[in-house]
């Protein structure tokens, strides 16, 4: 007998990048399958293919023995494949019942049959063990955990056979997690096939029968959870060789220029201490959402610091972004389009924005930009081209050029190579190496472990808002980082 859902040799290409390079996956009714992989391994893309948001370039999918090729997410839902995303997709102003039947309202002529809608909602919520949630209440009045239930209820109401949960515990408190686990087990007993995406191996172990590991867009291994050690799963997740993509010249660290002592923000980070020296690259590893970005923002004055001590060179205490720039600190945002760059302004404007004199000479702006275009190999037509027209890698170089033009000497880099091609990555690694050799201090947040291990002098791991001690890169490996980042004991 074949599995309820089968995916075979799925390939997905975005332009020149191969996001999925031959993935096989199968899950049976009454089974929970864990989908595991590092950030960027292709999990989200794979699930988008499954849910009809992306069409695969190659490969076959079968649902209950029939070919399955949904043309959009609505078609996938009707066929019985429902996704519960990390960011819930509910209409907050509508009621529980309206959300549950959204897009498939029971109709009589042009009118919604409200009694029927109510019944469907009550049925779904009863099945989830929460008949106490009124179908009439607007979703925005519910706590996050209950909103998630409404979303699962929506999947049940449409008759889901395959349910995909994408990191469902990331926004839940501990006791809500327990309740969610109970619910998943119940749905499994009812015969649903469940794909459970998670970083946390403990969760996988508690909940999932089998697992499959993705790496670089390929399925690299699978097995029965109970028969596999955490250490072996982690090895499957990270097993890669580091090539000479990563330059790291011999250098010695100078005096400390940035010191954090038990820094805590409003929610994250919870506790971060570190010392950054001149002439070193200090890497911060951790999962997405572990509080690394928030730590950089707190240092830079973009988010408030609740407690703890911050010192930049000889200056103590929190500071505004303007003050930090004037002390030689520069930040490259992880959100290039939303925050890092003003996309409809040109290269010259974006490069010189923090270092403009009171009276601006457009010609001098262009000259500055021209210099960095040459030095960083930014591919563009002219200095007055809008930054939004450049490719991701070239945009990122413009974001870095701003710090160089400002002559910053403390570089806070948040995911500086995310979403850019390998050639641009290599050039950014080389630049970071040159900066460190020239006595600049670099604090590098990255979710890509090979790059952290390749170019950093020391690495600290952040997990759930807490920053671990920084250790020389020779004393830490991917395995160890994954264990600390996912808060796992190597059982």
């Amino acid at each position: 007998m074949s599995a309820l859902l089968q995916m075979e040799g799925v390939r997905k290409r975005f332009g020149a990048t191969l996001a999925l390079d031959g993935v096989d996956l199968d899950v049976d009714a009454g089974e929970v399958l864990a989908l595991i992989g590092e950030n960027g391994a292709g999990k989200s893309t794979l699930m988008k293919v499954l849910s009809g948001a992306h069409a695969p370039n190659e490969g076959r999918m079968q649902l209950a023995g029939e070919a399955f090729a949904p043309k959009d997410p609505a078609a996938a839902r009707r066929a019985g494949v429902s996704m519960i995303y990390q960011e819930l997709s509910l209409a907050l102003h509508l009621t529980v019942a309206e959300n549950i039947v959204l897009g498939m309202e029971p109709m009589r002529g042009p009118f919604v049959r409200r009694a029927e809608m109510r019944r469907l909602a009550i049925d779904a919520m009863t099945e989830l063990g929460r008949p106490d949630i009124s179908p009439e209440i607007p979703v925005r009045k519910l706590p996050v955990a209950d909103r998630q239930l409404v979303e699962i209820g929506r999947a049940l109401a449409v008759g889901a056979r395959v349910l995909v949960l994408d990191e469902p515990t990331s926004s839940l408190a501990r006791h809500d997690i327990e309740r969610l686990f109970d619910l998943v087990r119940k749905l499994k007993a009812r015969g649903l096939a469940i794909i459970y995406i998670s970083h946390f191996l403990e969760e996988v172990r508690a909940l999932c029968d089998r697992f499959i590991v993705l790496r670089d867009g390929r399925s690299v291994g699978s097995g029965v959870t109970a028969e596999t050690k955490n250490a072996d799963i982690i090895r499957l997740m990270v097993g890669r060789s580091v090539d000479d993509l990563y330059p790291r010249s011999e250098r010695t660290a100078g005096e400390p220029v940035l010191v954090l002592e038990k820094i805590a923000g409003v929610s994250k980070p919870a506790d971060a201490s570190l010392t950054l020296h001149r002439g070193e690259v200090l890497g911060i590893a951790g999962l997405i959402g572990s509080g690394r970005t928030e730590m950089l923002r707190a240092i830079f004055g973009l988010d408030p610091i609740r407690t703890g001590r911050l010192a930049v060179k000889t200056r103590h205490g929190p500071a505004t972004p303007a003050q930090q720039w004037s002390r030689g600190v520069g930040l490259v945002s992880e959100d290039r389009k939303g925050e890092g760059l003003a996309l409809n302004l040109n290269i010259a404007e974006n490069t010189t924005l923090t270092s403009l004199p009171r009276w601006v000479s457009p010609r001098a702006q262009s000259r500055s930009a021209q210099r960095w275009i040459g030095r960083l190999g930014i591919r563009c037509r002219e200095t007055t081209q809008a930054v939004g027209e450049l490719s991701g890698g070239n945009q990122q170089k413009v974001a870095l050029a701003r710090l160089l033009e400002h002559d910053a000497d403390i570089f806070l880099l948040d995911e500086p190579t995310r979403g850019i091609d390998v050639a641009a990555k290599a050039e950014i690694y080389r630049l970071i190496n040159e900066l460190a050799c020239a006595g600049k201090a670099v604090l590098l947040v990255s979710s890509y472990l090979p790059e952290l291990l390749g170019i950093c002098d020391r690495i600290a791991v952040m997990c759930k808002g807490r920053l671990g001690p920084a250790r020389p890169v020779s004393e830490i490996d991917e395995h160890q980082i994954m264990i600390e980042a996912t808060d796992t004991s190597p059982a």
Partner: protein, 318 residues
């Protein structure tokens, strides 16, 4: 900015202006294509274009002001009242500019301190400033003694033909150069673009977003004060009901000139050309004895066409 794309962006509205002028010149060479008619058209454009200079700054910063017409009306009442009290014309004029600017400070403060959207705030001041003007004028027209201010928007007489056009038109042109230079050659001007293009980036780069917006409204609406002065000169009285609906013409001028309502884009010269295009179309239609409603439809089409063409230009640019 000597580049293919920005030359196109800069020239787009100008080509439009040349086109409509040529069109009416061919259709009505005798009545349209005269020195007197061009003087009148420039005169008719002065108030809208002057107000639109300030609006350009505001729109580039990502804002909008729907109450600029009410502001202009209030300013005419203020000038007339001051003149009626015997205040020298120079100080009455400065008073008008100060009132316009103060309204800008008020709007800017509401937007930045209460974190309200500019649309809502200025929808409120649209009514409130009009009401204030009516209250100040005791719901009637305020007459003022004749002063040299009344000559601001009069076509030069036989004695001063060397001026070619009314002093108000020269003032408008001088202010155009001033605002253009301010936006291009000062740090404050570049910050206006940055804030309008991406507020998050501006904040990241250490720009005080709130202060930039506040100053933009205060300075931008000083131009409402100057426009109010010109409107007064045209009316020779203070009229709290004047300039009703002018805000739409002002915003249209900015948009036709290449301004983007989502901020970060706009050209001062484009704005003035946008204002001229609307005057030329209205004037030309009148010369062709077309009914008013046809003019209004044509103006509407031009506004939408300008935005569509602008978007096409951007696409070609990439």
């Amino acid at each position: 900015m000597k580049t293919s794309t920005s030359i196109l962006t800069r020239l787009g509205p100008l080509i439009g202006l040349v086109f409509v002028v040529a069109l009416f010149a061919v259709l009505r060479p005798r009545t349209f294509l005269t020195v007197g008619n061009f003087q009148i058209m420039l005169l008719q454009t002065a108030v809208v274009a002057t107000a639109a200079l300030g609006m350009t700054m505001i729109i580039i910063s990502g804002g909008i002001d729907l109450s600029i017409g009410s502001n202009i009306a209030l300013c005419t009442v203020v000038i007339a009242s001051l003149l009626a009290k015997g205040v020298p014309p120079v100080f009455a004029a400065l008073g008008s500019i100060a009132v316009g600017s103060l309204c800008g400070l008020l709007i800017g403060t509401l937007i930045t301190r209460l974190r309200l959207t500019p649309f809502i705030v200025t929808l409120g001041t649209w009514g409130a400033l009009r009401g204030a003007a009516k209250g100040l004028a005791h719901e009637s027209i305020v007459t003022a003694p004749a002063t040299w201010l009344n000559g601001l928007l009069q076509t030069p007489g036989p004695g001063s033909r060397w001026m070619l056009v009314a002093p108000g038109v020269w003032l408008m042109l001088a202010l155009t150069v001033f605002v253009s230079a301010l936006l291009r050659f000062t740090r404050f001007g570049r910050y206006i673009f940055a804030v309008g293009s991406n507020e998050q980036t501006a904040r990241l780069c250490g720009i005080s977003v709130g202060r930039t917006k506040l100053l933009t409204y205060a300075l931008g609406l000083a131009f409402a004060g100057i426009a109010g002065l010109m409107q007064f000169s045209y009316l020779t009285v203070g009229d709290p009901t004047t300039a009703n609906g002018i805000e739409l013409a002002v915003i249209a001028a900015v948009v036709i000139g290449g301004g983007s309502l989502s901020g970060g884009e706009g050209s001062v010269f484009g704005t003035v050309i946008g204002a001229l295009i609307m005057t030329v179309v209205a004037n030309g239609c009148t010369k062709m004895n077309l009914a008013n409603w046809i003019q209004e439809i044509v103006t509407g089409i031009i506004i939408i066409a300008a935005v569509v063409l602008d978007r096409l230009r951007h696409r070609v640019g990439t």
